[in-house]
Amino acid sequence: MKNNIYKRILCVALSALSLLSCDYLDVSDELGGISSFENIFNNVDRTKKWYGQIFAERPDYSDLWAATSPMRNAWSGYADEIFTREHRKYGKYSNWNSSLGYNHRWSRLYASIRQANIFLEMAHPLVGEGGSDALKITEEEMRIFKANARFMRAVYHYYLFEMYGPIPIVDKSYTLDNLPDLERNSVDEVVTWLDKEFEACMQDMYQESYYDNDQMRGVPTKGAAMAYRAKLWVYAASPLFNGSWEYAAGLTNKDGKKLFPDASEKSEKLDNAVKYLKEFIDYAEAGRYSLVNTGNPEEDLYNLFQ
């Protein structure tokens, strides 16, 4: 008799416990929305939205008023010829120091670089489901998307290079668990890597100008990659990047690695600059692009932004 009661109590207690403990705390299971990268890259619409976000930081030089944005034309407002109220508020006349600076590109561009890296690592074509009318991303489309993403990744590195010189090259996405302590790459390493990237991505980017296609005019094509590559080498050949600036010449990483090249290494870069500029001009003049030149510089400038 006693034994029975023990057993019964134990049974009731245990079953109550097990029943309740199983899913009582699974409150978050009722949450919806995107909760993983699979949710994004197995869906055509979301894949494209992720892809679109890569372009968030593309530069806009026609925006002269944006005093704090590093990817718009903040710079002319800092010059003495122009006065804007925004620039007065943000640092035109105050001291900049280690704890107070404006127009930094660092975190913003690396966030977009991460966006591109994740796309390059995870995005894939989406075809074969839902019949012939269903939304899809074909192999061919994805090839261009990825080339464009790779191009934008290079472009963002290029703008970091423009502002900071030696920078860490980030060509994969990280989480907190695998985040390494990256040192700055030297100027030469950055230039070589960028050159290689522009070269590679222009193979799969759209080969012609989108000039006549008003649905795609905002998308970079091979011409843009060629132009960036040429401009990159012009910077690389600049005396400022080649030891003529004393402060830069002495700059090293903690392990002693020199970050700026010596003056003597310059000539080959100059050859490259000439070579890629020529390549780009030839490409442009084969009926693709031409300079806005009516003989009236004011009108030309006006038309440039129309």
């Binding site: 207690a13 416990l17 699974d26 409150v27 995107i34 979301r46 690396y110 296609n213």
Partner: protein, 634 residues
């Protein structure tokens, strides 16, 4: 304010919501009715299980609480006028209408309702028995679950736990206790939901020893020594729940692939990017507690004293990482169980009671001192060592040190063409890079790192005491009773806390929002002016708009001792004695007058010190209150 003819006054033009008319806000906007309902229910079932073994019992309880509120609003908005002058003939005000209101009272409308539901279920087994007259054994096992549903949050808050306790007492002298809690919280990922929190304790009642001298019992009537250590957990992740889940922003940049003749076209829709990573290993924040105490009673419990020392170490604190390099490209810094804080101090209370004749006198006092120290926080190596957070207390002030006010001698003065003066700081003096005009009468800050520039690197952490968390809390009170008439008062106070009167954009500054929209506290009459070039003034010189001044930086100039002593309440009353009660056939009758928050002694003076740090001066102050009551028991 209203004009003499009763019309509601306002500014010449209302530019924003800071053009306020307090009188209008109080009296001319209608009313709101609030209905609060609380339903509490609890069902308890006790079952004696002595047929299994003596001393065993079981208990089950279910409680269901509902707290709801409903608000109704009936309002109107009168037209508002600005007077430009008086009619010279009739003397009537010339009013121009600034805001055309709708003077009719609107229909009554719901203005919000909510309800919160709490369900609590527990079941427990208890065992208590005394063996051989000396061995007092107790055991308890309890299971509980809590469910809190708010009407504003779809997902309920849930908790589930198992608690166990074993106690053993020997001969009313030696006691040991061990307990544990095994608690689950819905906040964390599946395998990390449950935390195990054990504790053990022991105590010894010295005065129950047989060798304890009887003579001493008249003085030290009871003495108990206690010690315990244990672990507790905290799952409070603030406002964001389920931090372990990956989150994404779906309203990012819209990339328009095309450029049409009029506008951008062929957009891909709002961009998506990731915010938080999936982090399934997030878990409970842990606090290890050590406690040692003494309970003493003197003179037949006429004086009871309780003293505790505690030393608590919080670790695995859930915080957002700071030292994540920018090249990682994270949009939001991830959360981790990181960070350590030690908190130690003493806690004491004393109770006194004495009777002589019909008089009964009693008093009570409490005192707590707690000092914490940040042992580990994810901070970047500060540029200057005196800004380091690690090793300091929580909520320390980070302020400039005000050395003095600038004098005329600190500047080279030159006259402008319009007769005003231009002041140029003399070479050799540190130059403030704080954005603002400086001249004589402005605050001169100390250049802590001697780099010739006064900037954020010259702020010092740990000046004064922390804000918000006073290190010392105390209270004391007294109660006198004579034949049913009683009077009592209670004080409470804090010490070791500092308050910054204001910094940055703050309504504390005179005319902060312009000359027509700001206060001017009379304290600012005592300020540096051309004619009153003194150092010991309350305020440095005033500026038009505080953004143009360096005096609005947080500095020791505005730092005040935040300690205060408050007369919490005074109560006088009369309790009807038993004889009289029998006559009128009642169980109890009490008449009392209670006054609360009657006085406060502090060093801030501008606002109630309990409102704490900067900006708090503009919030609604604590009110004095008096209540007259009759309590009847049938």
């Amino acid at each position: 304010m209203v004009y003499s003819d009763g019309s509601v006054s306002t500014y010449e033009k209302e530019t924003d919501s800071n053009n306020r008319n307090p009188y209008y806000m109080l009296y001319q906007q209608g009313y709101r009715r609030e209905y609060d309902t609380k339903v509490q229910s609890k069902l308890t079932l006790n079952q004696d299980l002595k047929f299994i073994t003596p001393g065993l019992s079981a208990k089950a309880a279910v409680s269901f609480d509902l707290v709801s509120s409903l608000n109704k609003l009936r309002n109107y908005s009168p037209s508002k006028y600005h007077a430009t002058g008086r009619n010279p003939e009739t003397g009537e005000l010339i009013l121009s209408q600034v805001v055309a209101g709708s003077p009719d009272v609107k229909e009554i409308a719901y203005s919000g309702s909510n309800y919160n539901r709490n369900i609590y279920i527990e079941g427990s087994l208890q065992y208590n028995n005394v063996f051989a007259g000396k061995h007092d054994v107790g055991a308890m096992l309890l299971y509980n679950m809590k469910d809190r549903q708010l009407s504003t949050v779809a997902l309920p808050y849930r908790k589930q736990g198992l608690v166990g306790r074993l106690t053993y007492g020997y001969d009313n002298r030696y006691f040991v206790e061990a307990n544990f809690g095994y608690t689950g919280s819905e906040t964390f990922a599946k395998k990390y939901r449950f935390g195990f929190f054990p504790a053990v304790g022991a105590s010894y009642i010295v005065s129950n020893e047989s060798w304890y001298p009887e003579g001493l019992k008249n003085i030290l009537s009871s003495a108990k020594i206690r010690a315990s250590f244990g672990r507790t957990g905290n799952d409070d992740t603030g406002t964001s729940r389920f931090l372990y889940r990956a989150t994404f922003n779906e309203s990012g940049h819209t990339f328009n692939q095309g450029i049409g003749s009029n506008s951008a076209t062929n957009g891909l829709g709002a961009g998506i990017y990731d915010l938080q990573f999936e982090n399934n290993t997030l878990g409970w924040e842990i606090e290890d507690k050590i406690n040692a105490g003494l309970d003493l009673a003197f003179f037949n419990k006429g004086i009871q004293l309780q003293v505790d020392y505690f030393n608590n170490l919080r670790s695995s604190i859930l915080l957002q990482r700071n030292t994540v390099p920018g090249y990682a490209g994270f949009h939001e810094n991830p959360w981790q169980n990181y960070g350590k804080v030690r908190n130690q101090g003493i806690d004491a209370s004393i109770d006194l009671s004495h009777r002589f004749g019909d008089w009964k006198l009693s008093g009570r006092g409490t005192f707590t001192f707690a000092r914490n120290k940040v042992l580990e926080i994810d901070e970047l190596t500060p540029t200057e060592e005196y800004q380091r957070v690690t090793g300091t207390r929580i909520n320390e002030h980070l302020v400039y040190i005000a050395e003095r006010l600038y004098n005329e001698d600190d500047f080279i003065r030159s006259e402008n063409s319009n007769g005003t003066y231009h002041y140029e700081l003399r070479p050799g003096l540190p130059v403030p890079a704080l954005g603002g005009i400086i001249g004589p009468g402005d605050i001169k800050y100390v250049d802590m790192n001697n780099d010739g520039i006064i900037d954020t690197n010259d702020k010092v952490r740990g000046i004064g005491h922390p804000y918000k968390t006073p290190e010392i809390n105390y209270g004391f009170g007294i109660n006198v009773e004579w034949k049913g008439i009683y009077a009592s008062m209670f004080f409470s106070g804090v010490a070791n806390t500092s308050v910054l009167l204001a910094s940055g954009n703050n309504t504390f500054w005179p005319f902060n929002w312009g000359t027509e929209k700001g206060n001017y506290r009379t304290a600012f009459l005592d300020r540096w002016t051309d004619d009153n070039q003194k150092q010991d003034v309350f305020s440095p010189r005033l500026h038009v708009g505080y953004g143009n001044s360096i005096n609005d930086e947080p500095s020791t100039w505005w730092l005040r001792d935040g300690s205060f002593l408050r007369l919490k309440n005074i109560e006088v009353g009369y309790v009807l004695q038993e004889k009289a009660l029998k006559k009128i056939k009642l169980n109890g009758l009490r008449i009392y007058l209670l006054g609360e928050n009657l006085a406060v002694f502090d060093k801030i003076k501008f606002w109630d010190p309990e409102q704490g740090n900067r900006n708090k001066g503009v919030s609604y102050p604590m009110s004095h209150s008096f209540s007259l009551g009759v309590e009847v028991n049938f």
